[in-house]
Amino acid sequence: MGIDLTLTEEQELIGRTANEFFEKNCPSSLVREYEATASDYPSELWTKMAELGWLGMPFPEACGGLGLGTLDMYPLLVEMGRHLVPCPYLDTVALAGELICSIGSESQKKTLLPGIAAGEIIVAPAIMEADGSYGPKGIQLQAQHTGSGFELTGAKTLVACAGAAQWLLCAARTDPNPADGISLFLVDPTTSGISMERTPNIAGYPLYAITFDSVSVPADAVVGETGSAWPSLYQAMMKAAVLQSAMVIGAGERVLEMTTNYAQEREQFGQAIGKYQAVQYLCTDIAIHYHQTSLLTLQAAWRIDAGESFLREAALAKASASRAAAAMTFAAHEVHAGVAFISDYDLQLYTRRAKHWEYNLGDLRYHLDRACAESGI
C-alpha cells in the first residue's frame, strides 16, 4: 500500500516486549558473565525465549513455529543487539532453522524444528574455514562417498556454540566445482573423528574450531540435494545477514544513547562537551551510520517477506551494517575518551561484539562485491 516505513502494531509490540524482557532478563552483568564461563549460552534465558515463541518465529506452525516473516523478526533482533543477548539465535534459528525449513527432508523438519522452537535443540552451522573466505570457494572440507554414506575430512572455524550443540550443520565439498559441489550435512558432534577447540576471540563468544578426521556420516545426514546446496545456503546466509544487520541497528541505538547522554553530562572547560562541534560531528556519525543501515535493512527485510528478489538489497544492508559496526563504536570511543577505555564501562562490550558482527555472515568487502554481482555487474 504505497510507501510506508512503519512497522505494524504487532511488530512494534514484539519490539517493546523484547526490550522489556531483555532489560529484565539480560542485564550487562549476564553478558559479562557469559564471556567468562565455560558454558556456551544461558540456557535459562534461552528457555524463556522459547516460551515466548521467539525460537520458532520463522518456522511453519506444523513444526512448532509461528510462521512469521523477516519483518516480524526484525524488531526482536534489534532488541537482541541492543541488549547483546549472548544466545545462538542467528545461528540456530535464523540460519540452521531456515535451511532445514527450506531444504530439509520432512523427517529432518519433524525431528529438529520443534526441538529448536522449544529451546531444546541447538544446531550450530559450520560453514567458514581457516582461510576466511565467505563464498563457495571457502568451503574445502571434503565429503567422500562411501558405501553407506560419506566421510568428512577437513576443518571448520568460527562455529558458534558448537560445544552446546546437539547437531552441527556442516557445509562440505562433494565435488571440486566451486559453486556446484557443496552439500550440507547434519553431524552429531560426538561422532568419532571430530575434535573441537574453543577459540578465544574479541567478542568473548563461544566460537569453536572443529577438526573432522575421516568422520563417517550416514546417507540421510544430507540436508537438501547432494552437491547443490550452495544456492540455498547462500540465500539463507543472506537472510541471516539481514537479521545480523538488525542487531547492529539495536546496538547502534544503545551506543548513540550512551554517547549523547555522556556528551550532555560530561563537562570540560566549563561546558557540556556536547556543545563542541567536534563532539557533535562524532555523535551524528553514530546516528547517520546506524540509521541508514536501518533503512537498507528494512528494505531488504520487506523484499524477503514480499517474495521479491532480495540478494542485492541484503548485500547493501549488511555492507552498511559492517561499516556502521566499526564506525559507530569508534565515534563513541572518541566522545567518551578515557572513561570508556576502562572495562567497567559497558561501551567496550558493544565495541568488541561489533567487531564480530562486522565479520559475521560476510564482511564489508564481501558484501560490496555481492552488491555489484547481484546488480549484474
Binding site: F269, Y276, R352
Partner: protein, 399 residues
C-alpha cells in the same frame, strides 16, 4: 642541509652495530610486549630484566651528563639507539621515567637530580603520571587536587585517574593546585610523590586491552618541601607544556619510540600478506589489498618522517612550521591514524583476525589486541584537542 641518514660516519656505523650486537644477545627472539597493555607477571619480569641490561650499559642515560649517571653521549647516538630499538620491536622504557628525567634536567635542582636520576637510569624506580582527574581530562587546568604548605612539608589532597601502570610504579609526578585564588593556569605546581607515603591509595581500573590504569587517592599525603619540582605555581608552563606540549621541542607523544613500534607491526602485516593465500590468491597480489597496504604505508612512513622532523627541530632549535602548535599536528595525525591502521589491518586479514591466539589465530592474534589497544589513543590528550590547539594557536583561527 637536508640529510636523513643518521649514521654517516664510520664511528656512528660502528655504534649502530654495537647496539645491534647488544640486542642480538639481550633480546635474541622477537618479542612483542606493551607495558601499558599487559599484566602477565612473567612477561613483566622478562621486560624489566631486559631493561636492566640496557641500564647496565648506561644506555638509558646515554646522553645525560656524566655527573648524573650518564655517558654524555650525543643526541644522534641516542637517535640511532632508538632507531635500532624500534626496528627490533623492543618494548619501550616503562611509563614516564624518561619524561621525569627530562623535567629534572630542565627544572630540577642539583639535589633532585642526584636523588632521582639514578633510579631512572638503572630502572630500579618506575615513575607514573598523576595529571588527569575524574573532572579534568582535556581541561587539565581545571584540576582540583590541592597541595598546601605546612612547615617543611606539602600536604596533598585529591584524586588522580587513568594512571598508566601506576600500580607497578614507586613514584609519581603529581600536578596539584597550590594557589586556589589565582588564575586557573597560574596556580598549579608539580610534586614528586613516593607512592608508599601514608594516605596514598590506589584502585585498579582495568582497561579494555588487558592492561591496568589506576585511580590514585591522596588523603593528607605529606611530602617533604624539597619534592616540589620547578617553581611554585609554574607547573603549567614548566611541566605540562614542557613535557608533552608546545613550548619546548622534544620527543612528543606523536612520534616517540612507543608510537614508532607501529613500524615493525606493519612490517609483520606486510609479510603476512606476502605469505598468505585466500581463495587461491596471495593477499599481496589482490589489487584491493595492495591499495589498502599502500595507503597504510604512507601513514606509517609519515610517522617516521615526523620523528625526523621532531629530532631536527630539537637540534636546530628552529620553530616548527606552525610555531608553538607544531607538535599538535603530528600528535593529531598519530591519534587518528592508529585506530585507522588497526581497523584496516583487521579488514585485510579478515574474520580470522578476531581470534586472540592459539593455532587458529592469524599473526598470533596481534591485531585483535592492537585493535582493542587503539581505543587508548586518547592518552596524552584527544585528537580533537590537538586539532583545536593547532587551529587556534597554529593557524591563528579565533578561540
Amino acid at each position: 642541509m637536508v640529510d636523513m641518514r643518521a649514521d654517516d660516519t664510520p664511528e656512528l656505523q660502528a655504534w649502530r652495530q654495537e647496539v645491534r650486537d647488544f640486542l642480538a644477545e639481550a633480546l635474541p627472539e622477537p618479542w612483542t610486549f606493551w607495558y601499558d597493555y599487559d599484566e602477565d607477571p612473567e612477561s613483566w619480569e622478562r621486560y624489566l630484566t631486559f631493561w636492566r641490561k640496557v641500564a647496565e650499559k648506561r644506555w638509558v642515560s646515554l646522553t645525560w651528563p656524566k655527573e648524573y649517571y650518564g655517558l654524555g653521549r650525543s643526541a644522534i647516538e641516542k637517535w640511532i639507539l632508538d632507531e635500532e630499538f624500534v626496528a627490533h620491536d623492543v618494548p619501550t622504557y616503562p611509563v614516564i621515567g624518561r619524561q621525569v628525567s627530562e623535567l629534572l634536567m630542565r627544572h630540577g635542582t642539583h639535589e633532585q637530580r642526584l636523588k632521582h636520576l639514578k633510579g631512572i637510569a638503572d630502572v630500579s624506580v618506575l615513575w607514573g603520571e598523576g595529571y588527569s582527574e575524574p573532572g579534568a581530562g582535556s581541561d587539565l587546568a581545571g584540576l582540583t587536587t590541592k597541595a598546601h604548605r605546612d612547615g617543611n612539608e606539602w600536604v596533598i589532597n585529591g584524586q588522580k585517574t587513568l594512571g598508566t601502570a601506576a600500580h607497578v610504579c614507586q613514584w609519581m609526578s603529581v600536578l596539584a593546585r597550590t594557589d586556589p585564588d589565582g588564575p586557573r593556569h597560574a596556580g598549579l605546581s608539580c610534586f614528586l610523590v613516593p607512592l608508599d607515603t601514608p594516605g596514598v591509595e590506589m584502585l585498579p581500573l582495568n582497561n579494555m586491552a588487558d592492561g591496568r590504569q589506576n585511580m590514585t587517592y591522596f588523603d593528607d599525603v605529606r611530602i617533604p618541601a624539597e619534592n616540589l619540582v620547578g617553581d611554585e605555581n609554574q607547573a603549567w608552563t614548566q611541566v605540562w607544556f614542557g613535557m608533552g606540549g608546545d613550548k619546548l621541542d622534544n620527543a612528543l607523544p606523536g612520534t616517540d619510540p612507543h608510537t614508532l613500534r607501529i613500524i615493525p607491526l606493519f612490517a609483520r602485516v606486510l609479510r603476512y600478506c606476502q605469505q598468505t593465500n585466500r581463495g587461491g590468491q596471495r593477499l599481496a597480489d589482490d589489487p584491493l589489498i595492495r591499495q589498502q597496504l599502500g595507503e597504510l604505508m604512507v601513514g606509517v612512513e609519515t610517522l617516521k618522517v615526523q620523528a625526523f622532523e621532531n629530532y631536527s627541530r630539537a637540534q636546530t632549535r628552529k620553530p616548527g612550521k606552525f610555531g608553538a602548535a607544531s607538535s599538535h599536528l603530528s600528535a593529531a595525525f598519530h591519534k587518528e591514524f592508529w585506530p585507522h591502521l588497526a581497523q584496516v589491518c583487521m579488514e585485510i586479514v579478515g574474520p580470522m583476525a578476531q581470534l586472540k591466539g592459539g593455532r587458529w589465530a592469524q599473526l598470533n592474534g596481534e591485531l585483535e589486541h592492537y585493535f582493542r589497544a587503539s581505543f587508548g589513543n586518547h592518552a596524552g590528550g584527544t585528537s580533537q584537542l590537538k586539532r583545536m590547539v593547532l587551529a587556534t594557536r597554529g593557524l591563528g583561527l579565533p578561540r
